[in-house]
């Protein structure tokens, strides 16, 4: 398949259209939804760029934390983690658990809402 323009380039083109052309011509609810739409495209672009590395890092930490088989997929690993927390085999005091969840959630937030205040709090708590 051809990749010119790439998915990221296509999304960026639509985002620029919304920001520079559409939004200035809108008001009220439509303008609000246009800003939301632009933010959504920002998230989509960051997700495209960061997901492979983020998922691989998350999977690596989970395999180590759960001493699982290295070929386990991310969804099953997270399901096992959830079960262990529900069964009280793991808690917020278990070595490595809070750190893993923090790394995962910070990576997720940098994609979803990079300006969220809680992300600054987590970064300043210093790991």
């Amino acid at each position: 398949m051809h990749n010119q323009p790439s998915v990221a380039e296509l999304l960026q083109a639509v985002k620029s259209f919304i920001d520079e052309t559409a939004t200035p011509n809108l008001s009220g609810h439509a303008a609000f939804h246009a800003r939301v739409a632009s933010n959504v495209l920002g998230t989509a672009l960051r997700d495209l760029a960061d997901r492979p590395a983020n998922d691989s890092a998350e999977r690596g930490r989970l395999v180590a934390l759960l001493t699982s088989l290295p070929e386990a997929d991310l969804d099953s690993l997270n399901e096992i983690l959830c079960q262990k927390i529900r069964n009280r085999e793991l808690s917020s005091e278990s070595p490595g658990l809070l750190n893993h969840l923090k790394q995962t959630t910070m990576a997720q937030l940098r994609v979803d809402q990079p300006h969220y205040s809680g992300l600054r709090t987590a970064e300043n708590a210093g790991d």
Binding site: F32, H33, V36, A37, N39, V40, T43, D75, N78, E79, L81, C82, I85, R86, R88, S91, S92, E93, L97, L98, L101, K102, T105, M106, Q108, L109, V111, D112, Q113, Y116, S117, G118, L119, R120, T121, A122, A125
Partner: protein
């Protein structure tokens, strides 16, 4: 006649009953609307009222916990009698009014949007006063004798925890941070306090603020009998600090001032630590509410981009939960 004409004619008649008939039609302007309640501004000269009614007049509770608009009007009246800053209920709609479920209340000037309240110079004095005013107002609400109130649902901390846990489990997704928060909250639940009237959604967005501070407490839809710490903590949830994280109370105030004012006005004596469990429950609840709103998109019930986008805000509450757990362990 079109539906819009019917609506305008009916609203004009109700307005006439309240303020006296006049040949001039009142001006009718929609303030907000959508999935939750509709709000309309109705005015003729200096006579002004706010209509709050169900979308298109048809009540469809936005959450299973919502009490309905007629009961909401009763609570606002009870709060007014207790000296709490609320609008005056002018008229509760009845079927002959032809406007559906809702009520008209007095118009109170001010700002409800958090961003200007927290940032604009105009509200600088208001920000100074708000923590104390909110503490006083919540003490007033929590001191209203529950025997004088209409029937309300009862919902304590552990009940809410299990209710939201069930909703989360129903989505069938694995979110380890929520699992950890649920387990932590289950294992560390404080003893329940005696039931009081709880507003249920006390935070910026539902508070009318003018230049001197708190002008009115709005949106009583989620009121119930519950633990007073629920209201004290909800306004402390980081999502409701709107970026001003350093000010634990609503992004504008310090918890010590807020709790001291609460106690001074007749509320129980609580320490900042007493609020921690409830603040964590609040972040968890907001995270699951975001999942519920995203579900409305996923299921096709509300295909708007805004409902899609809110699914990517769940991680905000996960971050807050982890920050709270880490602070607890430190």
């Amino acid at each position: 006649m079109s539906i819009t004409q019917d609506f305008n004619t009916s609203l004009k008649a109700v307005f006439g009953q309240i303020f006296g008939d006049d040949v001039t039609s009142p001006k009718i302007r929609r303030l907000s609307g959508g999935a939750s309640q509709e709000t309309w501004h109705v005015s003729r000269g200096d006579k002004r009222a706010i209509l709050r009614r169900a979308p298109n007049g048809v009540s469809r509770a936005r959450s299973s916990a919502a009490i309905g608009l007629a009961k909401e009007a009763q609570l606002i009246e009870a709060a007014r009698e207790a000296g709490i800053p609320v609008p005056e209920v002018l008229h509760v709609l009845t079927p002959p009014d032809g406007l559906g479920d809702g009520f008209l209340m007095s118009h109170i000037s001010g700002e409800t949007i958090a961003r200007p309240i927290l940032r604009d110079e105009q509200f600088a004095s208001a920000r100074e006063a708000l923590a104390q005013q909110c503490g006083h107002a919540l003490a007033g609400i929590h001191c209203i004798p529950t025997t004088t109130l209409p029937d309300l649902p009862e919902s304590g901390g552990l009940q809410q925890l299990s209710q939201y846990e069930a909703i989360y489990r129903g989505f069938g997704v694995s979110r380890p941070v929520f699992e950890l928060a649920i387990a932590f909250l289950q294992d560390t639940a404080p003893t329940a306090a005696p039931l009081v009237l709880v507003h249920g959604d006390f935070r910026l967005g539902n508070l009318m603020v003018n230049e001197s501070g708190l002008a009115a407490i709005l949106d009583w839809e989620l009121a119930h009998l519950g633990d007073p710490r629920e209201d004290l903590a909800w306004i402390c949830v980081n999502s409701w600090r709107f970026g001003q994280t350093q000010n634990r109370v609503g992004g504008f105030g310090q918890i010590e001032d807020f709790l001291a004012a609460y106690h001074e006005a007749g509320g129980a004596a609580f320490t900042p630590k007493d609020i921690d469990w409830w603040e964590m429950l609040g972040s968890l609840k907001w995270g699951i509410m975001c999942m519920i709103m995203y579900e409305a998109f996923r299921s096709g019930a509300d295909p708007s981009v805004e409902r899609a986008a809110i699914g990517r805000r769940v991680s905000e509450t996960e971050m807050d939960l982890l920050n709270l757990l880490e602070a607890h362990n430190a």
